[in-house]
Amino acid sequence: MSERSERLSVSDHSPLWEVFVRARRGLAHTHVGSLHAPDAELALRNARDLYTRRQEGVSIWVVPASSITASSPDEKDAFFDPAADKVYRHPTFYDVPEGVAHL
């Protein structure tokens, strides 16, 4: 192995991509897994070979994993708390008077 390739690490030169596949028309793209590739074009081809060998999809997205900003599950301030005390956002919160239709 050449000295240069010794220095080449997968993570530096072949970063991680997250793969999303639309299984059929009418469905949203769904996360199916990840892979390594040096650029977007190869990531797309690798994703085709890795995740759609059995016609699992009609469309693929690949996104550099480093571009994803995620909420942290162990954040001390509960990130999702604001949603917990707003039951009035759900239709079941409201009393519908007897006999009212189409509501």
Binding site: S5, L8, V10, S11, G33, S34, P38, D39, L50, R53
Partner: protein, 351 residues
């Protein structure tokens, strides 16, 4: 269940049915999700609660360090097995007896590569890099399944690998679809669905040979004779000697003991061997009415330990081949990286 049922429909209670059930359970567990731990929750207690409730631990959740290490070791070993596992069968791609068989074998070996990659990706969610994983394999510091250190001497061996080796792998892996670690469970669901084609194609190869000329039948029998005990050994040492089992069961990484799974495999194979018209090489194999299971001869565990520690028939060959493939593929990785760098710098100039 497998192999003697070619209709494409899986009978209820079949392994594919179990995979579907595991997938449904995974969705149901997600429905019951308890959300993120609150502000003052003890993380270790929360972890234990999630495990108790049969819910999934996800990559960024807190987990005990030993849980993380156990998973990395197990998933990595599993991934390495898929990658090394391409070699015994790859040996027959150029000599498959027909174009149809060659195309099928190519697709199967490509699947094994894919399974290795799903699993490496699952391991990477635990904070180990792909580079480290590859290095651990190439330096022999992490193991792969001992079964791939046996040679494929005849075409019938390709059949025996599909039927027995993939069959044993499926029996091992179907319960892993319910593993407590989400990314591993999801990868296993995918892998198991694909493995069932592998097992059936192997069984079909043996079925054709076993119903062919006397020489072909003898070749099929010889393959069964050689692969039977190494396949039984795939389930690992007997429960009493298994070092990792108890803790893995408590963490719901593992769902059944080595001996339970081995028994399940034997019970499945007996009927399948009868349909083939081949004889399982075990004179003591017989139905035990009391246990409602077959009594059988245990594999040679001393041999298993020898093969694991590096002294099997093909250990050195497998590792040499993997190292060579890695070294000889370096220029492809370099070229792709150089091309990506060039494109990126061109875009920068244009912008």
């Amino acid at each position: 269940m497998y192999g003697n049922d070619f209709s494409g429909e899986d009978a209820p209670g079949g392994l594919l049915g179990e995979v579907e059930a595991a997938e449904a359970a995974l969705r149901a567990a997600a429905e019951r999700d308890r959300g993120a731990p609150g502000q003052d929750v003890d993380l270790a207690a929360y972890f234990a609660e999630v495990i108790d409730a049969d819910q999934k631990i996800e990559p960024r959740d807190w987990m005990p360090e030993a849980y993380r290490r156990t998973l990395i070791r197990q998933i990595a070993q599993h991934a390495h097995s898929e990658i090394i596992g391409m070699q015994p069968e790859g040996n027959w791609i150029s000599r498959a007896p027909s174009l149809k068989r060659k195309a099928i074998l190519l697709a199967k070996v490509q699947d094994e590569a894919g399974h290795g990659l799903y699993l490496y990706a699952a391991a990477e969610t635990l904070g180990i890099s792909r580079d480290e994983l590859v290095e651990l394999l190439l330096e022999g510091r992490q193991k792969y399944s001992s079964i791939f250190n046996y040679p494929t001497l005849t075409w019938a061996d390709v059949g025996a690998i599909g039927w027995l080796v993939d069959g044993a792998a499926i029996v091992n892996q179907v319960p892993l679809c319910r593993c407590s670690y989400g990314p591993y469970a999801r990868a296993m669901i995918r892998v198991c669905k694909e493995e069932s084609f592998h097992q059936r194609q192997g069984y079909e190869i043996l079925h054709m040979l076993a119903h062919g000329t006397p020489a072909q039948k003898a070749m099929a029998q010889d393959a069964l004779d050689r692969w039977w005990y190494p396949s039984l050994a795939m389930f690992g040492p007997p429960d009493g000697d298994s070092t990792h089992s108890a803790q893995s069961m408590a963490w719901k990484i593992k769902r059944f003991s080595n001996d339970e799974l081995r028994q399940r495999f034997v019970d499945m194979c007996v009927g399948q061997a009868e349909v083939l018209g081949l004889t399982i090489p075990d004179p003591d194999l017989r139905w035990n009415d009391e246990r409602q299971a077959y009594d059988f001869t245990q594999p040679d565990y001393a041999e298993l330990m020898r093969v694991i520690s590096g002294d099997g028939p093909c250990n050195r060959l497998r590792m040499e081949h993997r190292r060579r493939a890695h070294t000889e593929g370096a220029w492809v990785r370099e070229a792709a990286a150089a091309y990506a760098a060039k494109q990126a710098s061109k875009e920068k100039v244009a912008a």
